[in-house]
Symmetry: D2
Subunit: 347 residues, 4 copies
């Protein structure tokens, strides 16, 4: 069968990437695209790369427009998704690319976001280790899915195997991420101007204020950590897409190099979209551009007493839209990799 889909926030970056992937999905009919201020305009005016969707016109984002589809994607600023929840009660599958349904702790929501707290939905990172297996199992039966924060899922996937296996200590993690600006959306802010980004590296949300921190904590607690403390620093660098996350954690006393490496091998050895590179190899973001792949390089630094995990993802694919589609495939009972690619577009 073919499923009808509506995508809200279709003039933004997350919405555009959801559409790019859905346009190549044989089981999907993109019936409706919506926006706020751009409603009434042709989609192609805002997404000039989506040539195959040039016939679509942006409609207004209202519950009425979104209802009546088999699947609805919400790609809205955080705080906005929640208002559609009730109105979309009859929609069989709703996937939120925003933050509103990610956190299980209302205290964390209050501390990092604020405003109305919404119930958590199934978290859209299939490969993530949880206490009782992997997140994939929860997604197979989900009707409501929260796609992850791009930085959060990248760090969580980086470290969850070691945490679950007990070979690293989650109480003193340090993560520094080189990130492209598309993760910040199509916002008209001075620091996101090209002149401000070209040729420079620019840190932001330094010192424990980034909103993805509680999401990482939640994921690593689910993976088995007792206590998760993380020094988290994202740095904008001059590439449109991509996250290269360098994460380190102290090695648990007594574990061997083989035990450490085995933790990640066991976790991801059978995965298509999360791959551990051979010892000594580390990924570049270019290797996963446009792909749904997270590539992980692992170093054991005994002099520093730390494991260093370097993970590359495309923030708009594995970090957002690809995670959403992969989760959708699971929820629909389709092959998990449908419409998603493993190979990046490089150079």
């Amino acid at each position: 069968m073919t499923y009808t889909v509506a995508v809200s926030g279709a003039s933004g970056y997350a919405g555009g990437e959801i559409l790019r992937l859905l346009a190549g999905h044989p089981d999907i009919e993109i019936r409706t695209v919506t926006a706020h201020s751009n409603a009434g305009q042709p989609l192609i005016q805002h997404q000039p790369h989506l040539r195959s969707l040039a016939h679509l016109t942006l409609q207004d984002t209202t519950p009425e427009v979104l209802a009546g589809h088999d699947i609805v994607f919400l790609a809205l600023p955080h705080g906005q998704s929640g208002q559609y929840t009730d109105a979309l009660g009859d929609v069989p599958l709703v996937i939120d690319a925003g933050a509103d349904h990610r956190l299980t702790s209302s205290a964390s929501w209050d501390a990092f976001y604020g405003g109305h707290f919404h119930e958590p939905w199934a978290y859209g990172v299939p490969e993530l280790i949880t206490g009782d297996g992997k997140q994939r199992e929860h997604l197979r039966t989900a009707k409501r899915i929260a796609a992850p924060g791009c930085n959060a899922s990248t760090v969580s996937l980086s470290l969850a195997p070691g945490v679950a296996a007990g070979v690293i200590d989650a109480s003193d993690i340090v993560s520094v991420l080189a990130v492209g600006p598309s993760g910040a959306g199509k916002s008209l802010k001075p620091h996101l101007l090209g002149s401000e980004l070209l040729g420079t590296a620019n840190p932001y949300a330094v010192g424990g204020t980034h909103r993805h921190i509680p999401e990482i904590q939640q994921a690593l607690l689910a993976a088995g950590a007792d206590d998760v403390r993380i020094s988290f620093t994202p740095v904008l660098v001059p590439m449109a897409r991509g996250i290269l996350a360098t994460s380190t954690a102290r090695i648990t006393p007594g574990v061997t190099d083989e035990q450490i490496r085995a933790a990640w091998e066991d976790a991801y050895g059978d995965e298509t979209f999360v791959q551990l590179l051979p010892a000594g190899a580390f990924p570049r973001t270019a290797d996963v551009l446009g792909a749904n792949t997270a590539l992980i390089g692992l170093a054991i630094d005994r002099a520093a007493g730390r494991v260093t995990v370097v993970t590359a993802v495309d923030n708009l694919v594995k970090g957002t839209a690809g995670a959403a589609i992969q989760s959708m495939n699971l929820a629909l009972g389709l092959p998990e990799d449908r419409a998603l690619t493993v190979n990046g577009v490089a150079p």
Copy 2:
């Protein structure tokens, strides 16, 4: 008086930057420029931006050619500077931009470089805190100066105040650096091609193998640390120049936020070229492009239990050539800031 200068390695990036700065120095006459394989060619062919030096021709790098100047700059691959030491015995001031004379420990040299160990020279980072004041004092009387490694001096300047003041713990440092490829020199290696660097972030020397690690350890031990252990990961990002170093260390139990911040304020409050930004502000590499300035942003992350220091430098200026000229000015008794700029070229 005017000092005559010879610059070896003049067709490379470090040599070119030394020449760019010297070309604006009123007390210097650039008399000789040398190279290896490019000897005999016009300098302008290899440094097309140095229009005011278009009259110079590259000579062969031999002891005879370099001797007979008041000052000699060696901008050669590591392992090569040492062979000129004896032959340049009569030259009043020799400044090595390479690694050969940086390390005091032959064991560290063997572990990270290998080959013949050379005696350490005065380390060209004037603002660096040492046990008995600042490195500046040693440079005032120096005849032989080792310019620093760009990543090393950036991290050392980032953390030395906190180490010296005892407010952070040097035994579990994590540094991740976004760096431009010019730090790797004009080497014809596949991973340094533009196609491999544009649009991507690329880690290298992951897991404790980077040669600047012992240099950082040496500097922080001199600043008063008992034990220095560092997880160090550089990441190539698509900007020709610049280092943005994010360094974290655990906060010493019991110290207050005021004590922490005071450590950096006291260390750099009177410095021209190393400046602490106000609380909440963090630097971009664009802010120091072409300038001899290190800008430092400091965050105190109590949830993570760590101080985060983000420092921006231009790797070719404050990281290499600017450090060399600043040290030269000190050794010659000239104003320390001569021919050096504080303001960056941005956007």
Copy 3:
């Protein structure tokens, strides 16, 4: 049926892109990949983004290794393809991504390339207007195909409709192209280093020396021009991929704006991969990144007396590998768009 394929030059950029596209082609089995100096090494070491092909090992590029496949792709430096022609006589379909079989004029070959002249093969630009229709028809029956030069096909597709319709004058064309360095291949040349390309625009082959000039002349003569003269200037800009070609030609006296626009509309109105944008719209290279699409914007500048055509392509896809696969599909009788995408990867 499934066709077996060998790809030579598989460690380079053109070869890598052919493999990326073939990896998603349901009718193709990639059996053999070859290289010269890298023979014996895993393909993944040189193409780390091609995760689905991690099992392949580079073999030596010899006629014996290449023979015995249904299809052979030659992605070799110009002057090298020719030596395999005889040895591959039994291979049903050979596609050369190099220049050896593109030119019909041995005089042009001598003037711009030199060395042995090889017979021309069917030119792999299906949408190109020729005197008797489109190049597509020739490809349907081809056994030997020459994929185009990326700059050449971009300019030829830009102007052929106007030339064929007689609305522009081919005797005084000016084309200036912003190009990414991947078009120059994975060559270890100083001007292709990242430090030399980041943050700068760099012209090359200025003044009529670029090797794609005769290829453009040949195509536009085939489209009906009497005389083709072109001022052609490529400019390297800091993006890994992409060509943005700005081409202008004088308007034929007496033609109306409607006639001009109709020339392009008629030529490309039914095409999937070459699309004319609405009046007032112009393409960006990001819009076609990773896609086989050429997007064309057309302006009629009466004050200057010229038509300006701005065309964006991905040099590695529509410019090289996509053209090769599209031509292969035609020669095999498969749907022309198989394994090729229309939508770009943006932002």
Copy 4:
């Protein structure tokens, strides 16, 4: 003596670059900086690279605040400078970095800008050939100066020597420019976002609509052309600064290569900031980054019947702020090159 200066528009890119250059000028005291919406804030918040000016606070841009200085720089959007003209009647020297006082033709102003036409001021391109010498002479006695449009002065300097010498035909010029986004100012427009600019080339104002066209026509008419027609296409490329202008014009029948080259050699042989490169050499924008230099490469393409001139400038220096300072130096009787550099910051 020291001249007191006020700079309006000080939070923008042009204003910031004027300040960067003035900060190194020994005869200037920067007394006042002004802005509109940012008035009341510290300058350093908007120009974090101008560390030496961290003590300055942005005042409101009013005639009263600007009056009472020896020199006033207006770095405002076009249409705004004119309102200050009367109020600044007593200011000895006023330099407008905007367009309001550039054009001599009110018809051109109406066609390309619209709104109130202001009287033309002395045009701030000292090296530009005019009928009676060079523009420099007019600037020596000027009290009111209009700094040039960056694209306009680049193209005018490129072609004026050939036009004045009669070796090229100005009636069919084609110019295509690779430009960085800083030329568009710090405007919050979607197409200027980093995500939209990184990794892509993006044409704008295609087909004869760019506002710098009449400024080029005016300059080349002043250089001696009878008729100036120009096809002008700027292309945004991923570099913060820089213009690489490729301009071509048909060769006048009968002139020799020597005559052509002599036109440029004679025009610029004695100039410091406009330099003709040797035959076969062409400039990169990196070669002039941060410098006041225009580098010109010249090719004579007999096959195309055209001269190709490739010129690199830093749009914010030689294109705007450097031109303003150079003109100011002339008007003040100071050495023309004071506070300006010839050498670029590369790589």
